[in-house]
């Protein structure tokens, strides 16, 4: 068995990054290192938006996006489920109705489990109803039509959209704005971020959605991994500078090493 030609650098980078993440997590758990996350306004605003929904007696809408739990967009859905667990806890705390809409069938049982467990952990199992987590359609625009229908009929006061979003992002965000909801959105899909920035009150940009679980739970495993991400980013920035300097001076060494 061998490494496919062209993937050697990627393979070793994968191992080094994985070891670094594990090492920083262990250091964090052992108390040798205490990462501090900067304030993320969008995550702070979630409690405010749920409090507002409670005062108004209107429901909260949560969408984990339309990405599946397989493929390169899967981490966005898992990050969304982390936030969903937090939103469920707040919904239980404030006795606010929660509506979770789902497009991908594979995500449905996971979201149901997260919400059900969240209510049970808060001692309010009876808050989980049959229609709390709703599958609408696995067709992208049928799904968004369903969401807009819910906005129009139930006048949600808070709309939280975290996960992988595509063309439906602006439809959902504008629908929420027209319903008068406080909106917190986040995605790692580059081309949808501007739509969320334009239409929502708070936007989590790119990697912020992956930091959400750590930020909200302050779990040491997750905090350590977020700190390790920053070290990897620093290394990448250094590589960008070195690569630019070498390319400017006519050296192709780094390009050759990375192509191996």
């Amino acid at each position: 068995m061998s490494i496919v030609k062209g993937n050697l650098f990627g393979f070793y980078a994968l191992i080094v990054c994985s070891l670094l993440i594990v090492a920083v997590i262990r250091a964090t758990k052992a108390g040798k290192f205490t990462p501090v996350l900067r304030r993320i306004a969008g995550l702070e605003a979630i409690e405010e938006s749920i409090g507002r929904a409670t005062e108004m007696g209107k429901p909260i809408h949560f969408s984990p996006g339309i990405a599946d739990i397989t493929g390169s967009d899967a981490p966005q859905t898992f990050a969304a489920l982390e936030v969903l667990a937090y939103v469920t806890g707040l919904s239980a705390k404030y006795d606010a109705d929660l509506i979770v809409t789902i497009r991908i069938p594979n995500v449905l049982p996971l979201a149901q489990e997260v919400v059900q467990q969240g209510y049970m952990a808060a001692g309010k199992a009876d808050m989980y109803k049959e229609d709390t987590v709703r599958f609408l359609s696995n067709e992208q625009f049928a799904y968004i039509a369903g969401v807009l229908g819910i906005f129009a009929r139930q006048k949600v006061a808070a709309n939280i959209m975290i996960g992988g979003f595509w063309a439906e992002s602006l439809l959902m965000a504008e629908g929420g704005a027209q319903a008068g909801a406080i909106q917190v959105a986040g995605t790692a899909n580059m081309h949808q971020i501007p739509f969320f920035v334009a239409a929502c009150d708070y936007t989590l940009i790119g990697e912020e959605i992956y930091a959400a679980g750590a930020y909200l739970s302050q779990d040491k495993n997750k905090l350590g991994s977020i700190a390790a991400q920053d070290y990897i980013k620093l290394a990448l920035i250094a590589m960008v500078f070195v690569g630019a300097a070498m390319a400017t001076s006519g050296s192709q060494w780094l390009v050759k090493v990375m192509s191996k």
Binding site: M1, T70, G118, L170, A199, G206
Partner: protein, 218 residues
Amino acid sequence: MRREIPFIITLVVGLVFLLAPLTAGNIPLVGQPFSFITATYFSPWTTIVAAFATGLASVNLLRIHANSISRKRAGWYNSVALVFALAFFFVYRTAVELLPANKALAAGYANYFNNILSPLSAAMFAVLAFYIASASYRAFRARSLEATVLLVAAVLVMIGAAPIGAEIWDQFPVIQRWLLAVPNMVGQRSIIIGAAIGGFATSLRILLGLERGHLGGE
């Protein structure tokens, strides 16, 4: 065991899928490459799981709307339309699968599907144009320094991209290209790199069982 079994399955399957595109040749003692294992043993399982999930989702949909009809909730007639459509397409598709020789039946199914769903989807997509206008109006109000910078950049890009821009001043397209190629590209790439590393770290946490939010607990 409720937590351990999903963790073990995630770890094993995740590692195999991770190594499949990176490695070539047979795995020692197993005698088959990772790519063969994913294609032969794991991929059918993803299809089976997805099929079960779709079944569960359909039941969820049906129960919610059956309740809506039986309790005559506001807009219950929409639920009737949904249940009817669900039943109609289920029966029709089953008939198409059971009678593969009947080409007219298959063509009829495609006709119903394409002539109802496609126009409806296109209509929803078209609404986006109006929403872009209303969202832009709100975003481009110069309420703060950032919003003002956004407004100025947007106006320059729009004028530079429109044919009239070059007629007014030949430097508008140059400014537009610079805005897209330099500040915009720098921002995009930094977000993409950050998101990619974030996605990788999240995946690793899931593989190692450090992230269990999706299993209903910390």
